[in-house]
Amino acid sequence: MDPSEVEFIAEKELVSIVPNFTNSEVHLISGDVGPFRAGLPVNVPIWMALNLRQRQKCRIIAPDWLDVEKLEALKEEEKSNRFFTKMPSEHYMVVAQLLLSAVDDDIPRVEEIRMAVKDLWDVRISKLRSSVDTFIKTGGSHARLDYLTTMEINSVRPLLPHALDFIDRLQKASEGASRRDMASQD
């Protein structure tokens, strides 16, 4: 899957905006949004928030996890945890990328937040890579990947599935041989 497709999926997530206009509910096919009252926060999908922001019709409120201290705490938890920690958002990386690049003046300390998100991402990706390597080396064709986000899973696709498929083929080729070896030992 292309990263832009992961982004496409992530854009459905809701974010809080403060519109500068008033309008009744909008009945989208995917559900209702609004009503919009100037100055009052309302939740809309990110794709819509970005569009409205671009047209200068709203201000975007950063989700509360998009904060330097909170992100650093998450990073520390991730480092000390053997498994993967649950992220505040299924698409934390995409949401961060999208919101931080669209809204420099709405969100304070943008650069620091960007760094904090990237650090968290790097820790998790590096852990993922080691886990993948261990998984391949110890064999087996099944693993549990709770709390990995879509973009992270996508980073090892198709490398990991293809490697597993290949090992499966290598082992199947031998199975014919082993059965024959066992038979010839009679």
């Binding site: 909008v26 009945h27 047209r55 064709s141 549990r144 899973i153 990991l160 599935p161 498929d165 031998s174």
Partner: protein, 217 residues
């Protein structure tokens, strides 16, 4: 002005399925199709329903003033939905083109109530296979000695690899999935907890996609 667009629910045959559910079904089907090595049952009734919904929306939108902020928002949503549908259909066509003979043969073994190909896809598959056969015959097969002129024997080998590994999320608790062991390990039985994510071979969970227990991710 009251915004009544999108309030119309879709009446599918005798059922009353809300539009947002149709959309969710299509999104799930899109992802499943993208990651599945095999061709899944077609969701063409949902596709048609959504296309109708889109058409209706577009007609309604022409009645609004161009400056109405909702126009752009609705158009954006429609573009998103169209993308999902076209990507879904394109993925299916790619699979059909790759494993044409196998897919057609499988289709003949299925009961008429459970087709995997939509009517359009079935026609396309047949035409495509005929084109391939003709192309190969003209280019190569008619020039080789008679025992080797059989087109179908070359097609036999193009089948989807059902042993491929896929990523999935369990939508509900599923017990007793059997993971095949290899030369050094025995078969293993695993339980999939609701919302857990896994990587494993496609074969053992193939039927779980059909009943909605798992979603490919």
């Amino acid at each position: 002005m009251e915004d009544t667009f999108g309030e119309d629910d879709y009446f599918g045959e005798d059922e009353h399925i809300p539009a947002h559910e149709v959309l969710q079904t299509l999104e799930d089907a899109w992802l499943n199709e993208k990651f599945c090595p095999d061709l899944l049952p077609s969701q063409d009734s949902y596709v048609e329903a959504m296309m109708e919904q889109i058409q209706q929306m577009e007609d309604n939108l022409t009645k609004l003033k161009k400056t109405d902020f909702r126009v752009e928002v609705h158009h954006m949503e429609l573009a998103r939905i169209r993308y999902i549908i076209t990507s879904y259909l394109r993925t299916r066509i790619e699979k059909i083109e790759q494993n044409t003979a196998f897919i057609l043969e499988q289709e003949t073994t299925r009961s008429p109530e459970n087709p995997h190909l939509s009517e359009g896809e079935l026609n396309y598959a047949r035409e495509f296979l005929a084109l391939q056969e003709n192309h190969q015959k003209q280019l190569v097969l008619k020039h080789v000695p008679p025992p080797f002129q059989d087109f179908m024997s070359t097609q036999q080998s193009l089948v989807p690899n059902l042993r491929s590994h896929i990523f999935l999320r369990a939508k509900k608790d599923v017990n007793g999935v059997v993971i095949e062991g290899d030369r050094d390990t025995r078969d293993e039985e695993v339980d999939l907890e609701e919302n857990s994510q896994h990587i494993m071979q496609y074969k053992p969970i193939a039927n779980l996609i059909h009943d909605g227990s798992v979603q490919l991710i």
